[in-house]
Amino acid sequence: MSGSKFQKAEKILLKNVTIIDDGYNEQKQWDIFIIDGKINAINPTSEKTDFNGAVLDLSGKLALPGLLDMHVHFREPGREDEETLKSGAHSAMAGGFTAACTMPNTNPATDNREVIEFILDEMKNHLFSIYPIAAITKDQQGEKLAEMAELVDAGAVAFSDDGKSVANSLLLRRALEYSKMFNVPIIEHCEDAHLVGSGDMHEGFVSSNLGLAGMPAIAEDVIVARNLMLAEYTGGKIHIAHISTKGAVDLVRQAKDKGIDVTAEATPHHFSLTDEAVRSFDSNFKMNPPLRSEEHVAAIIEGLKDGTIDAIVTDHAPHSIEEKDAEFSAAPFGIIGLETALGLVAKQLVKPGILSWQDIVQKMCKNPYRILGLEAPQIKAGEIANLTIIDPAGEWEVDKFNMKSRSRNTPFHGWKLPVRAFAVLNNGYFYLAEK
């Protein structure tokens, strides 16, 4: 296939590809015919055809239903120097995603119809789909509910005050009750602000050594416990954002056993790194929740394995070079993650045999769509061609200077990762990732 990296998917034959989706045998290869952005037919690869469109030989590559990152920060409106909706989309496509949910901590906050409409309008006629998450409270101030019904009407798929918890338990109760009318989840960043104080990193022996103020794991656990109790009481849908502690994983596991309507997500950095990394004082290891100690990392991996944690998300949080290039305690929290997520998932979970590619499809596509009450893509004739094509043999080195994101704040610069995104298709468009 020649020409532009981003083009209309008018007539394409994806040849010799292994399909990872329900009902497919991973030992077999298939030819996927795409006409006008839709899957026209899927044939065993040996069948002869007289197809006269573009042909892409995908021998050795895997086709997954398009991946959705249900937790990103694209900074537009407000901080377009760090990321725009379009640069975020390009970063996501390069990382193998076809859709993302944007968090509402923009400036102005996504707490009104105009901002939702602006976001959706900006990404109209694009390969990449954006599903905006709206603020629970006005300006995320934790004082007054945002106009949730109108926000859902405008296109919001969930509510969150991400960046902090809704500290007022009564207000969170109301949000859980009110959002039940629309069957959308409340996504909570679980953190007791008083227990965390001015902490910069996980509270543990490493923080004691470094003299950095600690953020104790229990600050997450107590809010997860409160939220689960409120979800049980109200019957609302609660989704635990970027879970990072053993205590929280245990609580969610127990709540699921009890039948509480709870789901949870974890990030690649929380299952790939520990707080030991902070010894470098490199602010690219500063995120919230912070990198935790080994026992917590093991609990996250166990939670992913046994289904306690439903989704893998990046919490892609771009920050300018100027802001991150500072003393550790002066730098903001957050790292970018869209372009390294698949590689980290492959390195930390698939290669060691913890999860299969089928499981990854659940965690990075089917479950996120399900949590949001949206229909997940399927690789099936008649469906929109919403696909992520990955190259499992493609080892590569992370180079922060060669990323699509406008920001450079990755802790994985120089890491060698297996597997890279090869192409994505969605909404009638086709994007071939650069090598």
């Binding site: 509270e203 543990g204 923080s207 050594n209 003393e327 550790f328």
Partner: protein, 309 residues
């Protein structure tokens, strides 16, 4: 031995051999300081900048004096009179100063890791003169020199560090340095001021000051920062003094020979009583200050020696 380090950022990874070498070098500088003209040409032609982002009297004077005794040219920087007030970043400040051909930077900063970050910004040697609650290596070195002066050895001595351990860079550097040198270290504070998993430092932990004194050959008192009182680490200064203050009565009750140290400045009557601080049968506090200059001369000399090659 030759000293291979380019920077002195902390004592956590400094070996017993290196510490001994620094202390021995400081001894030779003590002899220099005793001369009628206490000055040597060792660092002539070298320029050192003292980047003090935090208020300091003794550490800053001690470094300045050490630099002058070694004949270095010095520049002094403080936040109140610098472009930091205009919002200049640490990287820009440091790189501008370095562009003026500075060889070494002594930095005091409220952010843990600021000296480590500085090593990524500039080519010269960096000496940590205190970074937030992290480390203060030259203070611990001068403490060890002072102890060695009195006891002639460090191994096996019992040192109790009493006070706000949580926020103390002096405590951390002393824990690393003293345990490396084979001393036994104990920490004593209200439990709110004991760092998380502090026992992993291989130290004993007391919440009872009488037990700590009973344990110790040397008591190192730490300053209680007045602003902590509003943060509920302890209820009142009165209660702190009553339960954790080091007093003559407590020492008398212990009925043993004890050496009292303090990195200063002292809150007299809070963490340490005046009659102990000023009594040279117990206190070596002013010896610590004197030794500070010799230690800083030794560190500057050993790091500057690399520059001369």
């Amino acid at each position: 031995m030759s000293f291979k380090r380019k920077h002195l950022l902390g004592l956590e990874d400094v070996s017993a051999e290196e510490i001994t070498h620094i202390l021995n070098t400081a001894e030779t500088f003590k002899e220099v300081l005793a001369r009628p003209i206490p000055k040597v040409p060792t660092l002539r032609g070298k320029t050192i900048v003292n980047l003090f982002y935090e208020a300091s009297t003794r550490t800053r004077f001690s470094f300045e004096l050490a630099e002058k005794r070694l004949s270095a040219d010095t520049l002094n920087f403080s936040t109140s009179t610098s472009s930091v007030k205009k919002g200049e970043s640490l990287r820009d400040t440091a790189q501008n100063i370095e562009a003026m051909k500075v060889d070494m930077v002594v930095i005091r900063h409220s952010a843990p890791g600021a000296p480590h970050y500085l090593t990524q910004c500039i080519k010269g040697s960096v000496i940590n003169a205190g970074d937030g609650c992290h480390e203060h290596p030259t203070q611990a070195l001068l403490d060890m020199l002072t102890i060695r002066d009195k006891y002639k050895y460090l191994k096996g001595l019992r040192v109790a560090i009493i006070g706000d351990i949580l926020h103390s860079r002096v405590a951390r550097s002393n824990i690393y340095g003293l345990t490396t040198m084979g001393a036994e270290v104990a920490l004593c504070a209200p439990q709110t001021m004991i760092p998380y998993e502090a026992e992993k430092w291989n130290v004993r932990i007391f919440n009872d000051v009488d037990e700590a004194i009973a344990f110790a050959d040397i008591v190192m008192a730490l300053r209680i920062q007045m602003e902590r009182q509003t943060q509920n680490f302890f209820p009142t200064l009165r209660e702190y003094h009553n339960y954790f203050g080091i007093t003559k009565e407590r020492l008398d009750r212990a009925n043993k020979k004890i050496t009292i140290m303090h990195p200063g400045p002292i809150n007299r009557g809070i963490e340490l009583d005046s009659d102990l601080a000023d009594d040279d049968r117990y206190s070596v506090i002013l010896n610590q200050v004197t030794n500070g200059v010799a230690i800083r001369m030794a560190v500057l000399y050993l790091l500057g020696g690399e520059l001369q090659e």
